[in-house]
């Protein structure tokens, strides 16, 4: 169990993945954090992915990374950020 947890922490802890298998990644990666509050009860965020990746998206990972987890624990879940990583697709 500890090994799985360590592997998850090392891999970035993202827990929802959206993938487009027909569009290979072109190496352009965009990251960001959405801010939510009160155990993620409060918050409504929009991420303009089409501006980040004009030629399309290969993969989006969304969830908690290590920093998000630490901030959530330290603030007793008053501040509950969630991060995302966007892998652009198509020609670079």
């Amino acid at each position: 169990m500890a090994g799985v947890l360590a592997a998850a922490l090392a891999s970035g802890c993202f827990n929802v993945t959206y993938t487009n298998p027909t569009l290979p990644p072109n190496g352009v990666v965009m990251q960001g954090t959405n801010k939510f509050f009160v155990a993620a009860l409060v918050g409504d965020e929009r991420v303009p992915v089409y501006q980040m990746c004009p030629q399309g998206v290969s993969q989006i990972e969304s969830g908690l990374d290590i920093g998000d987890l630490l901030l959530t624990v330290i603030t007793f879940a008053i501040y509950t950020p969630r991060s995302y990583v966007v892998h652009c697709g198509g020609a670079r």
Binding site: V4, L5, A8, L9, C13, F14, N15, V16, T17, Y18, T19, N20, P21, T22, L23, N34, F36, V38, A39, A40, L41, V42, G43, D44, E45, R46, V47, P48, V49, Y50, G56, V57, Q59, I60, S62, G63, L64, L69, T80, R82, Y84, V86
Partner: protein, 134 residues
């Protein structure tokens, strides 16, 4: 149960939780929810290890590039999370809805909308016939 817990539970049940919208196309026009991924349950262990298979964006709209992704925790997911995530932090549920461009979902094109407002163009009236001779 304390008041704070009751309030949190009510808010969770009534409103769901956070929402993130990943806009894959400029937000113009009307988008329809994909039948494959509408409030799709996505499971993760202790909120960090993904258990469910990734959401396939290509299949979601029948090969058409999707318009947006809504990620949230719906009412049912919130109820599940109360017992499987917040009380015993084991299983966490997220809901994902893929939005397809209008008329391009796997179910086929959407029906046409109503006709544009305003009076229908009228043909010019025929020229008046000359009065009959007396």
């Amino acid at each position: 149960m304390t008041t704070m817990k009751r309030l949190a539970l009510c808010a969770l049940v009534l409103a769901g939780c956070y929402r993130t919208r990943f806009e894959l196309q400029p937000p113009v026009g009307y988008a329809t929810a994909s039948p494959l991924y509408t409030d799709h349950f996505h499971l993760s262990l202790i909120n960090i290890i993904e258990v469910s298979a990734p959401v396939d964006l290509n299949a979601a709209c029948g090969g058409v590039p999707p318009a947006a992704i809504d990620e949230n925790i719906g009412v049912l997911g919130g109820l599940v999370n109360i017992f499987t995530s917040y009380v015993f932090p084991i299983l966490h549920v997220h809901n994902a809805t893929v939005l397809c461009p209008a008329g391009n979902g796997p179910m086929g094109p959407a029906p046409m909308g109503p006709a544009p407002m305003g009076p229908a163009p009228m043909a010019p009236p025929p020229p008046m016939a000359p009065p009959p001779p007396r």
